[in-house]
Symmetry: C2
Subunit: 213 residues, 2 copies
Amino acid sequence: LKIAILLFDRFTALDAVGPYEVLVRIPGAEVTFVATQRGEVRTDTGRFGLTADAALSELTDPDIVVVPGGPGQVQAMADPEILDWLRAVDATTKWTTSVCTGSIILAAAGLLDGKKATTHWIAYDELQKLGVEPTSDRVVFQGKYVTAAGVSSGIDMALRLVAEELGDFVAQAIQLGIEYDPQPPFDAGAPGKAPAEVEGFLRDNSRFLKEGA
Amino acid sequence: LKIAILLFDRFTALDAVGPYEVLVRIPGAEVTFVATQRGEVRTDTGRFGLTADAALSELTDPDIVVVPGGPGQVQAMADPEILDWLRAVDATTKWTTSVCTGSIILAAAGLLDGKKATTHWIAYDELQKLGVEPTSDRVVFQGKYVTAAGVSSGIDMALRLVAEELGDFVAQAIQLGIEYDPQPPFDAGAPGKAPAEVEGFLRDNSRFLKEGA
């Protein structure tokens, strides 16, 4: 399986690294980080970069594509090179997937027209504007299109994808390998679960909303 | 708060990026990836690298240190530059933490002598050999020393650390910000929970055990 994870300036690191850490454990999988150019791509906090080992033009036949989100999604969804590449590779992928606001990039490429999809909870409206039906499910399968909710959800998405593609044994082995037995300290990880004042604080201070994505 | 996340050749990406994605959202936090030299540090799969923006000698006063694990832990725990740096910064940290086999590096530096700690479930024996009492708890607080279980546990560890240091509101806001409402497809993320044949498969095929860490 050839797996391509798209990087773009100011992506959110965990959006990409969560699914990577699952998918790279598929026996025989070949995972490559791709970007418009080879080399370092800085994350949304500017604190570090990840290396893209291939340019988009060098990887044109992935079986699985993963598109992370992050504030840089605003520029990525307006970049014809990225949109053209997504449309081109989607023609032959087995799975086209996203985490967080990565689904908005897929939507901008026209790949989610009329479908249900999810994204970070603060960005549901953006999907709707692009002709996509937002849902609050953590992972949404629509044929070969799989979208996941905010940031940390890519781990759940990737495990479900492995189970679909390779069966429960492989998915469970990977889950145990990364010791994914989550024990969050609060039941506060989704709107409606977190205290109202916490949700209000995030809505008032959202970098995402401020940048007008 | 100055936060240093240690990178070393062949670390496991999610060990480092999980806690990073939580801690970087602390208001005013300054998160820096550090390594023996500035520049790219390759992950355990060789598939990509993360950029260390500072050399160890350039960051000597972090409030929080995070040590990830990964197969390269074997070399890291024998590297005097890394061990000396850990001992030196530990003298003034508020929190000294690890994810996965990162605790074995802390133990090699002598920082966990006689304490309880955790690590990846496949590596409990290694802690014991170094005079540390292994436990299977997902996150273990022993004064300012906080160790977390395998790979994905760093997210839980970091959220608990934020709650301890800054209170529940900030921790919940970060949890909601990264939409950490985990929904793993199986209850297979810890030994004793996964089917016995899955656990046996991993024990038989562990890269960790093969490399003799």
